[in-house]
Subunit: 196 residues, 2 copies
């Protein structure tokens, strides 16, 4: 059995580039403090092997390193060792391909790339959560779950995925579909790796 929560290795990437903004323009978004904390904690809880923050801006990378340095330094470690432990699997890289390469180097094979989207855009290779959950419990290729920030990934980028997971929706239509990415990651990991 793999040290991660499933028989295959699972990784998470949070993209800050190239995201859409609310007007559809392509932008680099800012790293949010709680995107580091919450997603690191969810990743650690569900046995994810690595959580990649993807942001090409040097000053943004410095922000991440400063926050992680605080919690991994002796002060943060003493105050909250659990937080420090969650941060051990966080990595910051400039580009999405760097995350893919790092996983390939560690695992000896390219990961299967599963992206997520709140919108059911046209011409995507959609995959159901049920099907993905079955694959996650097998001993197949490593998996990379990809989440966007801002107003989401571009359709062009989503089409580069091996598959896009169905949008997360309630059982009964609520007319509202604006989860935070922190909430979406938590739900995704629970759907794929949670105890039933």
């Amino acid at each position: 059995m793999n040290p991660s929560g499933s028989d295959c290795s699972v990784y998470v990437a949070l993209l800050h580039h190239s995201m859409r903004d609310k007007n559809g323009a392509v932008v680099t978004t800012a790293v949010t403090n709680l995107d580091i904390h919450d997603i690191a904690r969810s990743s650690r809880t569900f046995g994810v092997k690595g959580y990649f923050l993807v942001n090409p801006l040097e000053e943004q990378q410095e922000v991440v390193k400063r926050i992680m340095g605080h919690w991994q330094g002796s002060g943060g470690r003493d105050y909250n060792p659990d937080r420090s432990e969650a941060f051990e699997r966080v990595r910051i890289v400039s580009w999405f391909k760097d995350a893919v390469s790092a996983i390939e180097a560690q695992e000896g094979q390219k990961p299967e790339v599963l992206m997520t989207s709140a919108r059911r855009a046209a011409n995507m290779k959609w995959k159901s959560w049920r099907e993905a959950r079955e694959e996650f419990s097998g001993s197949g290729r490593p998996k990379l779950l990809v989440f966007g920030t801002g107003w989401g990934m571009t359709d062009e980028f989503l089409r580069e995925a091996d598959a896009v997971l169905d949008p997360i929706v309630p059982q009964r239509e609520s007319g509202y579909n604006h989860l935070s990415v922190r909430s979406a990651v938590a739900i995704a990991l629970d759907r794929l790796l949670g105890g039933r």
Copy 2:
């Protein structure tokens, strides 16, 4: 059918008192900005009828009102109408019993109180997510889902629940169980009300 995401009305309460701190002392915790935002958005997405922030401190209540006022004012509404819409169902009350009374006044009957805990403490009335999900899809009593902050609720308080939902755990033991409350609420709502 009820306007909420299930046949019975569902409410969420986030407690800031009486919480345990990391040394086990009973304290009032501070409201976190993203606890308002993320849980309001998850609640709205899954059709929750009301989200109660419970905090007896007047200055903490003022913080909540200021944040909500910003997003519900014309500037915030123009910038992000979805955020403003999510906040329409947020209420701030001083005590847990005030949330129960408000629901009783609105629904004409007391809600069934389902608390949550990351620890499997002794002498609780535990309920499985599967059983709870079945009850949520029926047309029974209104439900109130209760979440703690800090290091969680006291055992005395948990024993006042009609039931405590099983701790959220991964399918395979990861040796780590420290989800943020924002993540725990998202997962709980998805387990009870999410599309399958």
